[in-house]
Symmetry: C2
Subunit: 503 residues, 2 copies
């Protein structure tokens, strides 16, 4: 049975090939999709074919691509492959997309996940020509049931000149009721407080509003989300998770955190999942999560009755867990709320709720600055994502990384980071498999001592001590001692010799 129940939209059902023709060269296109969940499955491929054909005819055809965050090969991958993306925002992590960005083919604007929707609405991102959004169903009344990610869909549906919908019957019909689509946002001077005071509060409506006249095509799909399975947690990840949980336990003991903690946010990745796994055996009950994505570990915590509610904007589940969610969505929808990313990542809520944030990073420096995005200063890895939405506004903000990368050729603790995403003002806790540094309320010099002693790898620790000693002797002021001739020389050495270690 078709899930397109609205009569008017029933008439607009067509093929991906036909629908894709409505996307023209130069269009800014807002697509659904957040970490391999809820992205359109067919239009991007059909569009890529059109772009490829145009290029073969010698015609120019590229689009500006806006999403929720990273997507999947069927979206970023196929469009990047044909050099179809002139401009990309906000977060991406597809290998081909990354290659095109670093080759200078696609311009990439790395915008905070919470900022993009209001910026589009305010008109500062240019006109949004087309929205392509996956939904679970279209109701008779013309509202649309969101799919496995919400992302910026509300804004794309609102703001685009024309709308193309993919109705994916692979998504469980029982997702209806899990979402909280908040329509109370306004542009200033009309903005009001967002009246959400607990992780699980619902302040919006279940489904998207649609302007039916703007819907130019509906296509029906039946295809799974594509998320990468997690690797089992390695020893280092378990150690880092251990340090973090020890720290939290200490804070509870000191009376600086409530005994059931505060809402948790965790970045994607192995360490994040190891932390969640650690919580399974930990002393905390009644946990909550106010975060970007629902990961396997959270589902486990919910099943074990250790987590009472989790709020996010998308699923980021391994195939096994995604199937479980699809089978049992009805059961989970009391414990999980999916929101627009401008709400899941909203500074107002993150600060109010007092979120405990823990994110991955590429490198940190001895003064506590963090690089989340660039390899050796110039090359984009993924993007800042929501890490700064959380870091700046959270009650505790932690960053984790193994102390070395590339088998020890790279130290992830360096004299000066090669790109700054989170400054010394925002980073409170650093964690590697070597240990944890609590930087709160410390001056740069106090931080340097802690970071070098607790977080650096033994191979690099004496080199960092040398740099720090030397910098104090030659610098022009002792607030943040640097020797600018040497501060980025480790990165340069790696680029030239393949290792940060001196010959």
């Amino acid at each position: 049975m078709s899930r397109v129940l609205n009569k008017k939209l029933r008439k607009k059902i067509t093929t991906a090939e036909e629908a894709a023709k409505l996307i023209k060269p130069g269009h800014n296109v807002g697509m659904s999709g957040f970490t391999g969940a809820g992205y359109p499955k067919e239009i991007p491929g059909a569009l890529a074919a059109n772009i490829k054909a145009a290029h073969e005819r010698g015609e120019e055809f590229m689009i500006g691509l806006f999403t929720g965050a990273s997507t999947a090969p069927e979206l970023d991958g196929v469009l990047a492959e044909v050099d179809g993306i002139s401009f990309r925002t906000p977060y991406q992590s597809d290998p081909i997309m990354r290659k095109k960005i670093n080759a200078g083919i696609s311009e990439y604007a790395d915008i905070h996940l919470s900022h993009l929707a209001p910026m589009i609405w305010a008109g500062s991102m240019g006109r949004l020509n087309t929205a392509v959004v996956e939904v679970t169903a279209i109701n008779e009344d013309g509202t649309a049931v969101p799919s496995s990610s919400v992302g910026n869909n509300k804004t794309y549906l609102d703001q685009a000149d024309q709308i193309i919908l993919e109705v994916n019957s692979w998504q469980s019909a029982d997702l209806e009721g899990m979402h909280d689509i908040y329509y109370g946002t306004r542009l200033p001077p009309e903005r009001q407080p967002v009246m959400l005071t607990h992780t699980g509060d619902r302040i919006g409506q279940r489904n998207y509003k649609l302007d039916l006249d703007k819907v130019v095509a509906v296509i029906e799909t039946d295809a799974p989300d594509r998320n990468t399975p997690f690797k089992p947690a390695d020893e280092d990840s378990k150690k880092m998770a251990g340090f973090f949980l020890e720290f939290l336990t200490h804070e509870v003991k000191k009376g600086r955190l409530p005994k059931d903690l505060l809402p948790l946010q965790s970045g994607v990745g192995n360490v994040a999942n190891a932390v969640l796994a650690g919580l399974m055996d930990g002393p905390f009950s009644y946990l909550t999560s106010y975060t970007e994505v629902i990961q396997d570990g959270m589902v486990d915590l919910i099943d074990a009755d250790k987590m009472t509610v989790a709020s996010a904007t998308a699923f980021s589940l391994s195939p096994e867990y995604a199937n479980r969610m699809n089978d049992q969505a009805k059961r989970y929808r009391d414990k999980i709320v999916l929101r627009p990313q401008e709400i899941s990542n909203h500074p107002e809520m993150i600060r109010r709720l007092g979120v405990i944030a823990c994110n991955g990073m590429i490198e940190a420096d001895i003064y506590g600055n963090v690089n989340s995005t660039h390899i050796m200063g110039s090359k984009m890895q993924n993007g800042i994502g929501g890490s700064a939405d959380f870091t700046r506004n959270s009650f505790i903000s932690a960053f984790v990384t193994p102390s070395v990368a590339k088998g020890g050729a790279i130290s992830c603790i360096v004299p000066m980071v090669s790109h700054h995403d989170h400054t010394e003002h925002d980073v409170q806790v650093l964690i590697t498999e070597q240990g944890l540094a609590d930087l709160r309320g410390k001056s740069p010099k106090q931080r340097a001592k802690l970071i070098i002693a607790n977080c650096a790898h033994p191979t690099y620790r004496p080199l960092l001590e040398d740099y720090y000693e030397h910098a104090q002797k030659v610098c022009n002021g002792l607030q943040t001692p640097h020797d600018l001739r040497l501060s980025l020389s480790w990165h340069q050495r790696f680029l030239e010799t393949g290792t940060m270690q001196p010959a």
Copy 2:
């Protein structure tokens, strides 16, 4: 007549010398004071004398000093002069304090102005032993009338083990009623929305609550605030103000800003005042200001009926305007609200109100990163202040600087900033006397072209073009092209030769 009307506290009136004895070596002391307004006038001097005497006896005596922001020579100056400050936070700008920080005598933690109060409350800054707060009067009921700055006083009075009050009769008694002291803040998980939706809203009470048992001394003073008079706006400042107003006018025309703009925040300094002066002749009426400090220019706008209301945490007025304020506080108190700095700088309000922020900077780089704090990477100038509270959360965030400093020996637009306070993700508009670059929604490469063309000084423009061209050739990825051997070489050249210009 004494302004200490409460009987219990009347008995605690004493001299500054006696009161200062209550401050012991190692104390963390929270003092009032924000840009030369409302700082204690006598205790710091008496304390400095005690410290000096102790040092002469060979004894250790230093304190941790917490304030609202920068203060005056009578506070930061006297205590720094005697090497009395082991730890300082959050913002400072006193020449002697700066010297001691850069000499490594005082550790300085550069914390966002909105973050400090909640961090102290949460216990992550250690114990606060003493509060020293200037007030205008103590009422019979034991509440205290705030003085010309609010800053962190509410928190210091709440959290300190003991309280010393200075009651300054130089401050106008008519200040009572101008303040809005919000007692609704909580620690998570108890935090609630801050129900402030318009610049002029009042959500708190007029005066400070006091725990009378904690007040260990009261002293009476009669001394003026000490603010630096402004220099008359120079040609460059007028040009920058002109570019900014032109930009705002353009945004209104495009429908991206309401016709009376949105609440303005402006950093301290000459350009800020030139912008305010420009608004006097501009097309906008019914302006409002949601900012840190009330400057001369705002008083003019209020007098001219161009500004309906201004919200801040302190005055920062020239002596002439400070006297006027003192004489006519009754008249101004309908149009001016002074709030705790955790509210004046609160991300929740700044974002909700849609503040238009404009702050000074030391340097920006071609990719739009901004350095507000460090000279040549290591040496502290003042601190980040509230610039990041505003920049990250504002509707439009602009930074201004002349394109060169030190007579042209320094380019304020550089390949890579030597310290990062505001990252590429947060900086939207850059302005120098050369022009304006609108960076919203642009990739780093798109930004570089604009910044070099519009903002760099003609002497340095070709050098920046060369760097950018060269970096694209040698970098390991074209997202943010850098040559890490050269990216900080301009600063290094300045340190070695006294100019950034190549020989």
